[in-house]
């Protein structure tokens, strides 16, 4: 498709540690079109951050290695680029906003300098002060001259967004941009990202574990579980009728948090260990619908409805024939 900006195919990112191999990202397919906002949801530890870091080729190596796959950005497979060519993509074509604004700014460098160094060519509209203004920082002249520890978490996240947007990249990856912030600030930061997206037409890959944020911000969503994409589709369709039992649970628990706090529903069991993931469908130890086949064979990703894919034996024809255990 002409319109596709980012196309990740069969991405595998493993960590080789003394205990064995952590399959953090294990065959992820994902794409983002121009101007589209795509969500990537899943519990903590399922590999969302490492998917994002793989796209930027920022996986800490060693121990992390991108083992397989292709990451097409327009007509370039980023995985084939050398480090020097890759640098031209970072911050210009793809930018990233990180999870924890407290630790991602250099503590001994002034904020203004940290923004200035990413600017490819400062022009009248693209100055540090203009950028700080554009992300809603009230006193940009003062803030530019301050150190990160002098700013609040919300302000620091705005600075990080200013850094990410400095060169107007076509794709912005936001990795849980509000998780570390106060609830009131969270809404402001999401608003800011939304504004940027509509004003600049930036494509967005938004990583979160909060389905509420996805509903508010995204056009399409990928549900990730234990290093794999288990369901994807447009936000409307997935919220209306989630297909994968994990997505169903995720949705129920997010609704119960929002509406009936005392009646909190969560998915039973714990996130699997990616050093030794469960056989077959990785969700089977926690799945209320698990069948005998689920333990043995991995379901493939199938298109159940137009634009809505799921990886679950419940939807595979021969899977359904193999009855319940």
């Amino acid at each position: 498709m002409e319109n596709i900006l980012l196309d990740v195919r069969g991405l595998k990112t493993y960590f080789h540690i003394s205990l064995g191999v952590v399959r953090a990202v294990d065959g992820v397919n994902l794409c983002v079109s121009k101007g589209e906002a795509v969500g990537l949801v899943g519990e903590s530890g399922c590999g969302k951050t490492m998917t994002a870091h793989s796209i930027m080729k920022l996986v800490p190596s060693p121990p992390g290695f991108i083992e397989e796959g292709e990451i097409w950005f327009r007509n370039t497979d980023l995985l084939r680029l050398g480090e020097q060519e890759m640098r031209k993509f970072r911050g210009r074509e793809v930018s990233m906003v990180f999870q924890d604004p407290m630790t991602y700014l250099n503590p001994v460098m002034k904020v203004g300098k940290q923004i200035a160094e990413v600017l490819v060519s400062p022009t009248r509209d693209r100055t540090v002060i203009k950028l700080l203004e554009s992300v809603g920082i009230p006193d940009p002249l003062k803030v530019a001259d301050q150190y990160p520890h002098e700013l609040s978490g919300g302000m620091r996240q705005r600075v990080l967004i200013a850094i990410a947007m400095a060169n107007d990249p076509p794709l912005l990856i936001a990795d849980e941009p509000t998780t570390a912030l106060d609830v009131t600030i969270q809404a402001q930061i999401l608003d800011l990202i939304k504004t940027i997206k509509t004003e600049k037409g930036t494509s967005l890959l938004l990583i979160t574990h909060d389905l509420g944020i996805v509903a508010e911000m995204c056009d399409r969503v990928y549900v990730m579980y234990a290093g794999k994409i288990v369901e994807s589709g447009d936000v409307f369709s997935i919220f209306e009728e989630p297909l994968h039992p994990y997505a169903q649970g995720l949705l129920r628990s997010s609704l119960s948090i929002a509406e009936f706090r005392e009646n909190l529903e969560t998915i039973e069991g714990t996130v699997p260990n990616l050093l030794d993931p469960p056989s077959g469908c990785r969700f089977h130890p926690r799945c209320p619908m698990a069948m005998s086949v689920c333990k043995e064979k991995e379901p493939s990703l199938i298109q159940e409805k137009p634009g809505h894919e799921v990886s679950c034996w419940l939807y595979e024809k021969d899977g359904r024939d193999r009855n319940h255990s």
């Binding site: 920022l58 640098r87 031209k88 970072r90 911050g91 630790t103 700014l105 503590p107 001994v108 160094e117």
Partner: protein, 329 residues
């Protein structure tokens, strides 16, 4: 250094805090030395028999017949007046004897500190770029060795090889005696004399600094702000110089500051081995000669120098780390 609290008041406060420390050092050294065996008068008069009356006269002339606490009190009040006592051996005021030696010690110490800092940092940074590579392992082994070698042994080995066997460098003193050199020649002469003692004195500290700088650089390289720097598309050199180094330096600066005290200890050995006319050798000689006033004076001056250098190092730290303010610490 535009921070709240002025630099001046910070320095003043630090110096005031140092006074009780100096007092303790004085009292401790005084007590310790007067508990040591040996009679200074004996070494003053010499081995030959002297009339009892003469010995007593000398004793009272130097105030050695008074009770210890009176002697201590006199000593302290005299120090406050700038009088560190009178040298038995040199027959000069102690202060004059020491002040004469200060430039030589600084001439050895300052290059040694700078060299150990610079070499340590550069090797540490280089080592951390490719951890566990051949060059890293080589540097780490060298650092381990340099850390273990005793200074006096190293000094003698360097002298044996480079002065006696190869004859490349002079073995003793701070300059060629009797030679009337001027300008660049004088400088070169001093430099050639400096080389071996400074090297002997620095090696251990180069080793310490390499190890700390290496681990500090490695630690910093996993920090989130380095990931941010990478995500900006900066090249590796910029990331190392602009983002890693300023952060990695912080712990190293602290260690260098703490180390300076040990460098003084080392200088006693090095100055003795190389016949360097500084405070270290003076300390050693005054022990041999039981020249107690001079010995106590060198202790005091050394303490003052350590306090001052630590202050300078702390000021550098404050300048490097915007998170620390003058008020704290």
């Amino acid at each position: 250094m535009a921070k709240d609290g002025s630099v001046k008041s910070y320095i003043l406060r630090r110096l005031l805090h140092a006074l009780p420390l100096l007092l303790c050092v004085v009292v401790f050294n005084f007590t310790l030395i007067h508990m040591a065996p040996g009679d200074p008068i004996q070494s003053l008069i010499g081995e030959f028999p002297a009339p009892e009356a003469y010995v007593e006269a000398m004793r009272s002339a130097f105030g050695l017949d008074k009770p210890l606490y009176v002697q201590l009190w006199l000593y302290i009040t005299n120090i406050l007046k700038g009088d560190l006592g009178f040298s038995f051996y040199y027959r000069q005021p102690v202060l004059a004897v020491i002040v004469e030696r200060v430039p030589a010690t600084l001439q050895l110490m300052i290059p040694a500190v700078l060299f150990s800092a610079l070499a340590g940092l550069l090797l540490g940074i280089f080592s951390a770029r490719k951890p566990y590579s051949l060059s890293d392992n080589a540097i780490s082994s060298f650092a381990l060795l340099g850390y273990c070698l005793p200074i006096f042994w190293l000094g003698q080995m360097l002298m044996l090889i480079f002065s006696i066997k190869l004859g490349w460098l002079p073995s003793q003193g701070i300059k060629t005696l009797g030679a009337e050199l001027e300008g660049f020649k004088a400088f070169a002469d001093r430099l050639s004399h400096l080389f071996l003692p400074a090297l002997a004195l620095s090696i251990r500290h180069v080793a310490i600094n390499v190890r700390i700088m290496r681990s500090s650089m490695l630690e910093v390289s996993y920090e989130d702000y380095i990931t941010l720097a990478r995500s900006k598309g900066l090249d590796e050199k910029t990331i190392v110089a602009r983002h890693m180094l300023p952060n990695a330096l912080l712990p190293v600066v602290t260690i260098i500051g703490l180390d300076i005290g040990f460098l003084f200890t080392g200088s006693v050995l090095v100055e003795t081995v190389f016949g360097w006319p500084g405070i270290g050798r003076l300390m050693y000689e005054s022990i041999l000669k039981r020249d107690y006033p001079v010995l106590m004076g060198t202790f005091l001056i050394t303490t003052v120098l350590v306090v001052l250098t630590n202050l300078i190092v702390d000021l550098i730290y404050l300048w490097l780390d915007p998170r620390v303010k003058y008020g704290r610490k």
